[in-house]
């Protein structure tokens, strides 16, 4: 047991740190740090910048741009990227559909899609959730019927993040309605320009447009767009969902958020005191920092164990990353609300758009409430925290 990082590990971390803080385009980092949404163009720019330097898909097979890093290297890559406010490569591309194609796709699919996925030449969105099947994903009903050389797809997906930017969508569809819920599902790639697809925006309570409904009305999808075997899509979905074990805690993001909160709390005053000097605020903040430090160590334990058991049984500690990570991320949004106080109240979406009017209150206050509202999603999506607890109770605790 050696609880310090090795020299090599530290050198790698410092390399990542230097790159993300000094070489990555600063305007994008600043915008992210201020809690503002990035445009499609900025996200594409960011990913291509990384991809050009071999940093968009380091966890992929080496043949397709992977770096064969150790789990601790991958950890530093993610953590430093988050701490530097560098936007992560589009997860639907690099963590979801990319690995599925690389693992289960045929050679043609690999050659056609993987380079474009890595470079965000193709933007994918995810078509899993449906209105009737949230936590209970296996109850999905969007159907794909074979009809000559294509499938006819009908149904509806929802909570489709950034579908408005997407070129393609990867979907779970029901190809065998007679089979058991989990056995008649297939994994399809669908061009968003196909006739019969309609995207309807869902506005969320923060005022943003991040998610959408996607309707399929007799959409023709070539059979060759099936990934892997027909009716085996559930396995690929499980592979996809199980892929992301550690990044989900977003420890680096929370560290950076706390730094930002301290910075702003030193600007904001209450009476003759800076907010940062209020002992109650400091203690609230320190209590979150303690939980975050513990989570960071928990994550490192998981990372270190992954080295040994790459595809083995997950570490019990890994199961808590989602729950505690979401709680901490949400706590940071509440701390920022505390900092800006009454100036969380004005609704200032215009701060996104290069509006020229002066802000109401301090310029850093505008994103506080929208972020507090928006980040409530973190304990809901990707398997709500209640579902996580169900899973842990059964899989880890044997109850």
């Amino acid at each position: 047991m050696d609880l310090a990082f090795t020299k090599e590990e530290i050198a790698f971390r410092d390399e990542m740190r230097h790159f993300f803080r000094n070489e990555f385009p600063e305007a994008i980092r600043r915008k992210a740090s201020e809690g503002r949404h990035l445009s499609r163009e900025e996200m594409v720019t960011a990913q291509r910048f990384l991809n050009a330097r071999g940093l968009a898909v380091p966890h992929w097979p080496q043949a397709w741009g992977g770096r064969d890093w150790s789990s601790i290297q991958t950890y530093f890559y993610q953590d430093e990227m988050q701490q530097a406010n560098v936007p992560s490569p589009l997860p639907f591309n690099v963590s979801m559909v990319g690995p599925v194609i690389a693992t289960f796709g045929n050679e043609r699919q690999k050659h056609e899609f993987l380079p474009q996925i890595a470079n965000l030449d193709i933007w994918f969105c995810q078509g899993f959730s449906e209105p009737g099947s949230g936590s209970d994903l296996a109850s999905l009903r969007t159907s794909a019927k074979r009809d000559g050389d294509h499938y006819l797809v009908n149904g509806q997906k929802t909570w489709t993040t950034l579908a408005q930017y997407a070129d393609w969508i990867f979907c779970l569809v029901r190809t065998d309605p007679a089979a058991k819920p989990q056995e008649g599902i297939s994994f399809l790639l669908i061009d968003m320009k196909s006739p019969g697809i309609t995207v309807r925006p869902i506005q969320t309570i923060d005022g943003g447009h991040e998610v959408n409904e996607v309707f399929f009305d007799d959409v023709k999808v070539p059979l060759e767009n099936l990934v892997g075997q027909e009716n085996k899509g559930w396995d690929y979905a499980k592979f996809l969902l199980g892929n992301e074990r550690t990044g989900i805690a977003r420890v680096g993001t929370s560290k950076e958020r706390i730094r930002r909160i301290k910075e702003l709390a030193a600007l904001e005053r209450s009476g003759d005191q800076r907010v940062i000097d209020n002992p109650r605020f400091r203690e609230k903040l320190a209590a979150v920092e303690v939980e975050l430090k513990a989570l960071e160590l928990t994550q490192l334990r998981v990372v270190a164990n992954e080295r040994r058991a790459q595809h083995g049984k997950p570490d019990p500690a890994s199961s808590i990353l989602k729950i505690k990570g979401s709680e901490i991320q949400q706590a940071t949004t509440e701390l920022l609300m505390d900092v800006v106080g009454p100036y969380a109240m004005p609704y200032q979406p215009q701060f996104e758009e290069g509006w020229n009017e002066p802000p109401i209150g301090p310029d850093y206050a505008a994103p506080a409430a929208p972020t507090y509202f928006n980040w409530r999603k973190i304990s809901i999506y990707g398997g709500s925290n209640e579902i996580q607890r169900n899973i842990i109770a059964k899989a880890i605790l044997g109850l």
């Binding site: 936590s135 003759d272 605020f281 609704y347 509202f373 409530r376 809901i380 709500s384």
Partner: protein, 379 residues
């Protein structure tokens, strides 16, 4: 002690709830929001007809002689409906200041106009640097040749954008943050030197930044001695907000229970899952505690002893803040994604609740005040 409503109070409650039920469904409310002012002038006129706009004013002054209980009834119903009209700003805040600080001549001029719906007012008090300190007033008022003029910047003035007249707090003497030396002044919102910038809050109600540059003003009460009145009216306002918050929370609980009963996952209504049942119970506990404190706030809003009143209203704001925070977050979580969409009402309640948490000091602020005062129970 008696929590039963009197006959008149029951009538009031029924009629307000009926009005809200008829005119504040989700689609109607959306329409009101799309108007320039963001609320319904027609309903404002209805409130006037029903006597709501003069509710807390003395009958002799054009009002209906209602007290804190009547305000509580109206505000709770308005909370349930997420009512948008500037009742709180005009009747509770400005009306309260007029009741406690205005001369009888001023009251005779203004209160009937408010009650009839023809005059809307707002309280321009908070300033950028003040955060939640009621005495942190730097806007200045100067007297010259018997007339007063005001200069300064006011921020987050609720419903300030379209108010006809403003009540402005301004410093006539004393150091920054001194309670002594603050005055209240009546200002015509259209006067030269007043400039206003209106905007929506997160919950779609509206506020304004207002600057005053050498604007003529009429004192409301003795200049320099207004702090006790401001503190009193803010405590009354906290009682009203507590009632509104209870309406908001109760509505959030109801829509959540509906959702739990009807939404199916894994082949059954999700309300059959014990974990969600217990969380719905914990919401109930939080709401009943908040409701109790709304009663306490109502009971204590007119307490003569300012210290006891402050303790009580601080306590109420703490409970409302904590209960509301929990109930709102749980309502969203139990709904899942749909709770976060603008198309579904629970998120709007959540946002209103969040604004109430922040208005006139959050729970932490009032907890610090209450703790500094030694708490509620004599040691």
């Amino acid at each position: 002690m008696d929590f039963d409503l009197s006959e008149e109070q029951s009538l009031l409650k029924d009629s307000v709830e009926k009005l809200v039920a008829q005119h504040y469904d989700f689609e109607q409310r959306k329409k009101y929001l799309q108007t320039p002012q963001g609320w319904s002038p027609d309903l404002w006129a209805r409130y006037a007809e029903m006597g709501l706009l003069g509710l807390p004013f003395a009958e002799a002054e054009g009002g209906f002689g209602g007290g804190a209980v009547e305000t509580m009834i109206v505000m709770e119903a308005f909370g349930r409906g997420l009512v948008l009209e500037p009742y709180f700003a005009t009747v509770v805040l400005a009306g309260g200041l007029l009741r406690h600080a205005a001369s009888s001549a001023q009251r005779a001029e203004l209160l009937p106009a408010i009650a009839s719906g023809t005059l809307r007012m707002a309280f321009a008090h908070s300033e950028r640097q003040a955060r939640y300190d009621l005495a942190d007033v730097t806007t200045s008022a100067r007297e010259s040749a018997g007339s007063w003029r005001i200069t300064g910047e006011k921020s987050l003035v609720l419903a300030g954008e379209h108010a006809d007249r403003l009540i402005v707090s301004a410093r006539v003497a004393g150091a920054a943050r001194a309670q002594d030396g603050i005055g209240l002044f009546l200002v015509d919102a259209g006067a030269a030197g007043v400039s206003r910038r209106g905007y929506a809050l997160q919950d779609a109600t509206r506020a304004a930044e207002i600057s005053f540059s050498d604007v003529p003003a009429t004192p409301l009460g003795a200049p320099g001695k207004a702090f006790p009145v401001i503190a009193r009216v803010v405590d009354e306002a906290l009682a009203a907000l507590a009632a509104e918050a209870v309406g908001v929370m109760a509505a959030m609980h109801e829509v959540t229970l509906d959702y739990l009963r009807t939404r199916k996952q894994f082949g059954r209504a999700i309300g059959q899952f014990q974990v969600l049942q217990h969380r719905a119970v914990d919401m109930l506990v939080a709401i009943e505690q908040a409701r109790s404190m709304a009663f306490f706030a109502t009971m204590m809003a007119n307490e003569a002893d300012a210290t006891e009143r402050r303790r009580a209203l601080a306590a109420a704001k703490i409970q409302i803040g904590r209960s509301g925070h929990k109930v709102g977050q749980e309502a969203i979580q139990l709904h899942g994604g749909i709770g976060m969409t603008m198309e579904y009402k629970v998120g709007h309640y959540f946002k209103r609740m969040t604004m109430i948490e922040l208005l006139f000091g959050d729970a932490d602020h009032h907890l610090a005040e209450l703790a500094a005062m030694g708490g509620l129970i004599a040691g």
